[in-house]
């Protein structure tokens, strides 16, 4: 037994080394940094002194950070169901159809996922600029007003649109693969019993997709908490609030304001929050 354990560790070493160096160590360092606050005397450089939980206390009272979290929840509640709903619909449609056309559709839907997020966001940035946007040109052709996609009231939805565009195809492929795994005798039995297509979808396919959907849901929720690139790329094109996403807010705290201690505390809090949300779900799925 012990010999096997040694061998197991030997095989795990490459993973563990990378996991520790690039995951656990940075988390540990962030935790360490988050315990220090900056004290200034005069106009000179600050002294880093041990502050205990001072950064955490500041964070839970920081309305900008809390509003960032609120944005994240609004985003999650609106975008995740829309994206997963679309993904289910597309997966079912693809499963029903056959042939060359289906293959083209499958590739086309999946393609946005293959485009680097930053590039995708740049392209959308052009599509969103008030006067050049083809959407606005279409609206104007119908004598409607212009939409400023980057204005404070709209920009969160503009970002949600980019994320949906990127990830729907990925979720669709995963669901499509899960559909392929449904044994064909189930369909045959249902047909023999007189089930219509809609009955098959409702009584067989959706229930059997649920485990996959749950996993995709959790991944999407975690993805929502990590939203950064789209907002970061759109920032130079207009006014995007520092706290449009919590991740952008803590990035600016570190990289712009050089306040690494506070940024560390924000990061740890955000991680704990996501653990708290996704942990129970993951446990339920794992225990099945």
């Amino acid at each position: 037994m012990r010999r096997y354990r040694k061998t197991a560790f030997l095989f795990l070493t490459p993973f563990l080394a990378v996991f520790i160096a690039f995951y656990l160590a940075p988390v540990g360092y962030a935790l360490y940094l988050s315990l220090f606050i900056r004290k200034r005397i005069g106009v000179g450089p600050p002294k880093e002194v041990f502050g205990g939980l001072a950064n955490y206390i500041r964070a839970v009272q920081d309305t900008d950070f809390l509003n960032g979290l609120k944005n994240m929840f609004v985003f999650g509640v609106v975008q995740v169901p829309v994206m997963l709903g679309l993904a289910i619909l597309l997966a079912l449609l693809l499963q029903q159809s056959r042939g060359f056309f289906m293959k083209i559709c499958r590739t086309a839907f999946f393609m946005p996922y293959g485009i680097p997020t930053a590039i995708g966001a740049l392209v959308w940035g052009y599509l969103y600029s008030a006067n050049l946007s083809p959407f606005n040109q279409i609206l104007q052709a119908f004598h409607q007003g212009k939409i400023d996609f980057l204005s404070p009231a709209v920009v969160l939805f503009s970002i949600a649109n980019i994320v949906t565009w990127t990830w729907t195809g990925y979720n669709m492929i995963t669901l499509f693969a899960a559909l392929q795994n449904i044994p064909s005798d189930l369909y045959e039995a249902a047909r023999v019993d007189g089930a219509k297509t809609w009955d098959i979808v409702r009584r067989i396919q959706i229930p059997l997709l649920l485990p996959t959907l749950q996993i995709l849901f959790i991944f999407s929720v975690i993805g929502t908490s990590q939203l950064f690139t789209e907002a970061f790329v759109l920032r130079p094109l207009g006014y995007l609030a520092d706290n449009i996403t919590p991740n952008l807010y803590l990035y600016l705290t570190a990289a712009r304001d050089a306040n690494y201690g506070y940024a560390g505390a924000l990061a740890i809090l955000l991680a704990l929050l996501i653990f708290a949300i996704s942990g129970p779900f993951l446990r339920r799925i794992a225990s099945r």
């Binding site: 005069g42 106009v43 006067n131 006014y239």
Partner: protein, 466 residues
């Protein structure tokens, strides 16, 4: 002006009383030199004595981070002059994207460059990290006289330590499309009053289709340069504490003026440096732009020479005809040496040479529109190259002359603060509210002042509003 014949040579010897002719010629000679500065300057492009800046011995490679396109060509010239020093130029992205990398490298203690380009407004936030070398330790204080005084004030805020060598500057002027101005019979405004009248005239003549200029809603330093020209000073370090005055009457007067033009839709509010902005300028929807010295070059390149030759540069409009001419500055940057550099002496030498030597200083302007911070560079008649951008973009006009006059009219005492990076972004928030019409100019500035004070105080600065 760098006078080739020093005034001492006209002084009589102490033993003799000067006779009338001697004094006459002395005064006449002095006056002549004052009257024909270009002739004097041409023969006297003064450069520091680089031999006083001794690099470390042995083979050296300097890592340089910048966003100036073509700096690697200047670096090759430097390598020819100093064969022991190799220079590796790395374009890691403009402004904030570079700062965030440098900031991270300073925190990490390694991985940063030897030399980095930093804009004046962001320099204090780097000084505050204690990651920059005080170049006065390596003889940089001796080259002060070779740079435009206000640019030196930017790199040496306490007038002792020197945190960078001025590279370029961005004094402001009014760039306008002469074709559009002629078409609608507009006159070039010399005061803001006239400016507003022309904006109204153009809006009425075109049914609001063509705007006089753009008010860039996400570039605080653009607004600040105009407040600077109105005598505003935003930050001041006094002893152990700071004062901040983002909502001073001088600032309010400027923003009030623009808020009125925005409300009447006489000016556009398109974010600068975007495809949308260049499209609007290139297609004649915007007739002018208040631009820093580097602006016409950027515009010429970004428009791919579309509308080239149609433009002219005029001095910045003034608030009153009676006051002495005043200009502000937007951007401009210096080259700093990081404390983690192994070769601070060689790096200092490179920074001084790059920004004082005639070759790179002149080619930076004529090739990339980077306006010099070197006094000799500014006075050099070679700065005027009618067949090259940005002069070519302006129909061969001596653009450099307009901007060099503007540079002389920039307030020396203007200083920034370490938390400017925050204030810079917070400005966008307030202006978004101003443009949407939910706040007045005064309310926007008050909120900007308050947010920035709050941020600085949370970071431990002893700062008061003024």
């Amino acid at each position: 002006m760098n006078n080739p014949i020093t005034w001492r040579s006209f002084l009589p010897s102490p033993a003799s009383r000067p006779s009338f002719p001697v004094l006459f010629w002395a005064i006449a000679g002095y006056v002549c030199c004052q009257l024909i500065p270009t002739v004097g300057a041409e023969s006297a492009y003064q450069e520091p004595d680089y031999s006083k800046l001794k690099p470390e011995s042995g083979p050296i490679t300097l890592e340089v981070w910048t966003w100036v396109v073509g700096l690697d060509k200047a670096a090759r010239l430097f390598e020819q002059a100093y064969p022991d020093i190799k220079v590796h130029v790395n374009n890691v992205g403009g402004g904030p994207s570079e700062y965030q990398k440098v900031q991270t490298a300073i925190k990490a203690g390694s991985g940063g460059p030897d030399v980095a380009q930093i804009e004046y407004d962001f320099l204090p936030s780097f000084i505050a990290t204690e990651g920059l070398t005080d170049l006065s330790k390596y003889g940089a204080a001796d080259v002060k006289s070779f740079f435009v005084p206000w640019t030196w004030g930017q790199v040496s805020p306490d007038e002792k330590a020197v945190y960078g060598i001025p590279q370029d500057s961005g004094p402001m002027a009014f760039l306008y499309n002469k074709k559009i101005f002629d078409q609608y019979g507009l006159t070039v405004p010399t005061t803001w009053d006239e400016f507003a009248k022309q904006a109204e005239k153009l809006a009425q003549a075109t049914g609001g289709k063509v705007k006089l200029v753009d008010f860039p809603p996400t570039h605080a330093p653009w607004f600040i340069s105009l407040a600077w020209a109105n005598g505003a000073e935003l930050f001041k370090a006094q002893g152990d504490s700071w004062t901040q005055s983002l909502n001073s009457p001088a600032c309010e007067k400027v923003l009030d003026f623009w808020a009125d033009l925005i409300k009447k839709k006489y000016v556009a509010t398109i974010p600068d440096f975007t495809a949308e902005f260049y499209n609007a300028v290139g297609s004649g929807q915007i007739a002018g732009s208040i631009e820093a010295a580097w602006g016409p070059g950027v515009l010429a390149a970004s428009l791919n020479d579309k509308t080239s030759g149609e433009w002219q540069v005029a001095p910045l409009p003034q608030w009153s005809k009676d006051q002495p001419f005043r200009a502000g500055n937007w951007g401009g940057s210096c080259d700093v040496v990081l404390k983690q550099s192994k070769y601070p002496k060689a790096a200092t030498l490179f920074c001084v040479w790059l920004n004082a030597a005639k070759g790179p200083v002149l080619s930076n302007w004529t090739s990339y529109g980077i306006f010099p911070a070197s006094s000799s560079g500014l006075a050099s008649p070679d700065l005027n190259q009618p067949d090259k951008n940005p002069s070519k973009f302006c129909g061969g006009q001596n653009v450099a002359q307009v901007y060099s006059d503007a540079s002389k009219a920039v307030n020396v005492d203007f200083a920034w603060s370490p938390w400017f990076a925050f204030a810079n972004d917070d400005y966008n928030k307030q202006i978004a509210a101003l443009i949407s019409g939910s706040v007045t100019a005064k309310q926007a500035l008050d909120a900007w002042q308050e947010d920035s004070l709050k941020n600085a105080a949370a970071d431990g600065y002893d700062v008061k509003g003024k």
